[in-house]
Symmetry: C2
Subunit: 207 residues, 2 copies
């Protein structure tokens, strides 16, 4: 038996991330190219890590809470960025607030420009060390992409767009997400930038 | 200027691990072959994770404490073992006590048979699902390696051998180790089985 739909639709990789997450930065910068090479479609899924961590009783990132791991993470990031050929500067504020740009990302997660939008915010946080949780930053990025910034922003702040980020975060919790980045292929979960290649292998085993 | 010693001595990779640690299992089974391919010498460094976790205020493994991460880890292990071609059975007890075999490992960490000894205990824990913290298990493994079990055991239980594991664990804490496996090349630390290849690249950049 053949099924035309399943033969032609590419496998889908869900990419759950947030702008404050340094390991999400590594994945955000390379996922589109890596997935394209495998014929896999990427579905960007912004969510907030803070409420997830709080549900575990953690007031902030485990990298900030546990100083031994935190100290290592910043050395690891230098090496990982060198390995992937990515620029890097350790943010002077961590984890950095990003609710407004994340709200816009969640409300427009299916837009053609979502990848470019997210990469620009990752670059601002992890290369330029800029505060990003402001309307000025969102407008600058949207305009830089040639978009109608007021219209995009208005959609993200009115119903139903304004509910997207909260709903995505609740869905992340329900699906057992405990960190970022997290990838899903169907119900199969892969945690961490180190598992991006495994997730792509799982999505497209024959390539 | 040339230096005969530095030209001829191979780079050294320290491998800090413990028998209860499932990700240490992945590294223990492949590290000797992977390092040999790069001309890197492996220094096996057994230590106890329990006192490290307790120093963070954790009564047990974070995989046992945090159920979302714990649930994922066992799925990840199935996939990682498939990727590396390693057998795997989830231990019915986790983390499994291993003080006696670890004491013997620490007291004889420089022995020629240390790798083989450790791999056999890893196999017992993560493939055969056997309890391993007994003299009978230690004797069985030592005899299986053709060693004089009573002599090896006696050395590990008398001074100075009996102090090795405690001293190694204290040294692990001092060096900022927060999990296992952890690799060191000189003072450079690499955490996790996922960083074994990075550590080898760092130890032998030209190969």
């Amino acid at each position: 038996m053949t099924d035309d739909t399943s033969r032609t639709a590419p496998p889908v990789l869900e990419f759950w991330f947030e702008f404050a997450s340094n390991y999400s930065y590594l994945s955000a910068m390379r996922i589109d190219a890596a997935a394209a090479r495998r014929g896999v479609a990427v579905r960007w899924r912004p969510f907030l890590l803070g409420p997830i961590f709080q549900s575990f009783g953690w007031p902030t990132s485990p990298f900030a809470l546990q100083k031994e791991k935190g100290a290592w993470v910043w050395k690891d990031m230098v090496r990982q960025c060198a390995k992937y050929g990515l620029p890097w500067r350790r943010p002077s504020v961590f984890p950095r607030a990003a609710t407004l740009p994340m709200k816009v990302a969640a409300a427009h997660a299916g837009a053609a420009w979502i990848g470019a939008y997210c990469r620009r915010f990752m670059h601002k946080n992890f290369v330029l060390d800029e505060d990003i949780d402001s309307e000025a930053q969102v407008v600058a990025v949207l305009e830089g992409l040639g978009l109608d910034a007021p219209a995009v922003l208005a959609q993200a702040l009115a119903d139903p767009g304004r509910r997207c980020l909260r709903e995505a975060t609740e869905q992340a919790r329900t699906r057992g997400i405990f960190g970022a980045p997290t990838f899903f292929v169907g119900d199969e979960m892969f945690w961490g930038n180190d598992r991006l290649d495994d997730a792509l292998d799982f999505a497209a085993p024959s390539t």
